[in-house]
């Protein structure tokens, strides 16, 4: 099949889904609403409707033919009868395996098929590895010096978070063209909600999404479709296996009763989304070792053994959707705090305040869960449907060491904002947020020998957390913390920089291909034929 045919087919499938999209939205005031960056659609003018694409024949030569074809019904897909309402929805998990490695490979075609690893800050540990490296038994998290001799010819990279954040944004914006309901779950995973359909139609949709993301962003993804988010995770594993076997990495576990039965029987229960080692141990003790075993347990037993969260997981495995698009189970790899503004924000000091507030919120959550973040992304944008001009911006950078300290995070957020800010009064922004990336257990973070004053910071933060825990939340009548950082609420206050050593050891860092004009990927001229 030529690329042209594929492109047209993809466009058809996606357009149909896009047309019938819709549905309810999580209420903005819900406490969970701020936890995840739920994107109903692309950023304002970033989003192109299919009509817009079609009209813009300069950018997309294929589109002219598509408008013509769109008006014809597809003969090969039988639509569900009207009695089955479109309000039935399914979820797709779009997941970029080895995402950091894929980003590093986009502008290095010479690395196709070669072993590639991405290292953590200061080039310490392996945080991402290519399939070639995984196949040699190297696990994520091992110190690079321990395994480098096992991997002759392997190409190591220092993490290049601005590059990864840019590709993450590209993937998410591409997904926003296929469905209005996209939830960014982590830097390399997103859930997409779409109307239920026949297995054949869903498979065609999944293939089209897979191909579109690959073609537009150059990032390979897996697409798993199922009636619930937990089953979509299972479908994604099936898709991974299909990809490794040389097929397109897509899988649909929906449409028929028992569609997921084989996959669930083969999946260890500890691999189920939301079942960590702790719950896994309890299940093992009860003789349950597979996902199918958990799905088959009687409700009262699940509830007694695993509580209401476990029951939700069991129901999701049976195809009963309990997790709406904006909600995720506890195990997290990234943490988002964002909120729409009550009014348009056009001044940098106000934006800085908002970001500092989100940063403080996010840090509190990190400390509560004993986690620390390796990198920070900030983002802000104008409302998608309001009057223009429209603008969206995001910036990301790694910390010198994983942190959950509010001053670290606000300082970096301020730095990123200084870089991203387009100027006061130019745009009226409607929403802003912070995304803490690559979360690691805080107790695994090495002690910082060179910055002893941080011990005092930690003691201070612990005290602040205790005060806030006592005077905020249930039964206190307050939702906002009583002790806050000045940066959250002093518009023109200039806090001193804490003198962080931002420059870290990153010997193998790739160029800022998409973030630095001086580092654009080179294109040579083909020798005359």
């Amino acid at each position: 099949m030529t690329r042209e045919q594929v492109g047209v087919r993809a466009r058809l499938d996606l357009a149909e889904v896009g047309d019938s999209g819709g549905g309810e939205r999580a209420p903005g005031g819900h406490p969970d609403a701020a936890w995840k960056w739920s994107r109903r659609s692309g950023h304002g003018h970033h989003r192109r409707t299919n009509e817009a694409w079609a009209a813009d024949d300069t950018a997309l030569p294929v589109a002219t033919g598509v408008t013509h074809r769109l008006s014809r019904p597809r003969p090969d897909v039988r639509r569900a009868p009207p009695a089955a309402p479109m309000s039935r929805r399914v979820f797709a998990l779009v997941d970029a395996s080895q995402f950091y490695v894929s980003c590093e490979r986009v502008f290095r075609p010479d690395l196709d098929g070669r072993p590639v690893v991405v290292l953590s800050n200061n080039d310490g540990c392996v945080v991402a590895r290519s399939e070639e490296v995984r196949a040699r038994g190297v696990r994520n998290g091992v110190p690079w010096f321990q395994v480098r001799d096992l991997l002759p010819g392997a190409v190591p990279f220092s993490s290049n978070y601005p590059l990864y954040a840019d590709f993450s944004r590209r993937v998410m914006e591409t997904l926003a063209t296929v469905s209005p309901d996209v939830e960014l779950y982590s830097i390399d995973e997103a859930f997409v909600a779409l109307p239920a359909d026949t297995p054949a139609a869903l498979a065609a949709w999944a293939d089209a999404v897979h191909d579109r993301v690959r073609q537009w962003t150059r990032i390979p993804v897996r697409v798993g479709v199922a009636p619930t988010k937990t089953l979509a995770k299972v479908a994604s594993e099936v898709a991974r296996a299909r990809g490794l076997a040389g097929h397109r990495a897509t899988a649909v576990l929906a449409g028929t009763a028992g569609a997921a039965a084989d996959a669930l029987a083969a999946m260890p229960v500890t691999d189920v989304w939301g079942v960590g080692p702790r719950l896994g141990a309890r299940l093992r003790a009860a003789g349950v070792t597979t996902a199918a075993g958990l799905a088959a347990m009687p409700d009262p037993s699940v509830r007694r053994l695993l509580g209401v969260v476990g029951l939700r997981t069991a129901l999701e495995l049976r195809g009963v959707s309990c997790l709406p698009l904006t909600r995720a189970p506890a195990a997290r790899r990234s943490l988002t705090r964002s909120r729409s503004f009550g009014r348009r924000v056009a001044r940098r000091d106000e934006m800085a305040e908002a970001l500092a507030t989100h940063a403080a919120d996010a840090c509190r959550a990190l400390r509560r869960e004993g986690l620390a973040a390796r990198a920070l992304q900030i983002f802000f944008h104008t409302p998608r449907h309001g009057a223009g001009p429209h603008h969206a911006a995001s910036r990301a950078l790694a910390f010198s060491a994983p942190t959950n300290r509010t001053p670290d995070v606000t300082a970096l957020a301020r730095r990123l904002l200084a870089d991203a800010w387009p100027g006061d009064g130019r745009f009226g922004f409607g929403k802003a947020g912070v995304l803490l990336l690559d979360l690691v257990p805080a107790d695994a973070v090495p002690r910082d020998l060179f910055l002893p004053e941080r011990t005092a910071t930690d003691a201070l933060l612990a005290a602040v957390d205790r005060i806030n825990a006592r005077f905020t939340g249930r039964g206190t009548g307050r939702t906002r913390p009583v002790v806050r950082f000045a940066s959250e609420g002093t518009p023109r206050g200039t806090t001193t920089e804490s003198g962080h050593a931002w420059a870290m050891r990153q010997r193998q860092r790739s160029p800022g291909y998409t973030t630095d004009w001086r580092a654009l990927p080179p294109v040579r001229l083909a020798p005359p034929a």
């Binding site: 099949m1 030529t2 690329r3 042209e4 492109g7 003018h45 970033h46 192109r48 409707t49 009509e51 817009a52 009209a55 813009d56 024949d57 300069t58 950018a59 997309l60 030569p61 294929v62 502008f107 290095r108 075609p109 010479d110 690395l111 196709d112 944004r169 590209r170 993937v171 998410m172 914006e173 591409t174 579109r212 073609q215 537009w216 962003t217 150059r218 449907h385 009057a387 223009g388 001009p389 429209h390 130019r426 998409t514 004009w517 654009l520 990927p521 080179p522 294109v523 040579r524 001229l525 083909a526």
Partner: protein, 113 residues
């Protein structure tokens, strides 16, 4: 090749309404499939270009025969003119994207950087 935004339908009739023009407008709406790349040598066709000139590349576009494209060849990117090849021809260079615009620095005649 230099045709600007034509026929893009948006609720805001003119994306630049109420503000000064910026070069972004000329490229059309932002797209997740747009990449900037830099020319590594000199070209004389289809226009005179020099090293460092910026190529605007659209990976979402499907090339028409004769269009200027970026392909992956021998582990590098190279500029090429697109000619359709049979899908089973594995020796053909892999398409990266279609060059939609070039941001070229104008240099004195007879001397190129």
């Amino acid at each position: 090749m230099t045709r600007a935004v034509v026929g893009f339908v948006t609720p805001v009739a003119d994306p630049s309404a109420g503000r000064a023009l910026v070069l972004d407008d000329a490229l059309g709406p932002p797209s997740p499939a747009r990449f900037f790349m830099a020319l590594a040598g000199e070209a004389t066709a289809p226009v005179r270009l020099g090293a460092g000139d910026v190529l605007v590349v659209d990976c979402a576009a499907v090339p028409r025969s004769g269009q200027t494209v970026v392909v992956e060849a021998d582990g590098e990117f190279a500029l090429a003119t697109w000619t359709p090849t049979p899908a089973d021809d594995t020796s053909a260079p892999r398409l990266f994207g279609v060059v939609t615009h070039v941001l070229a620095t104008v240099r004195p005649t007879g001397r190129r950087a």
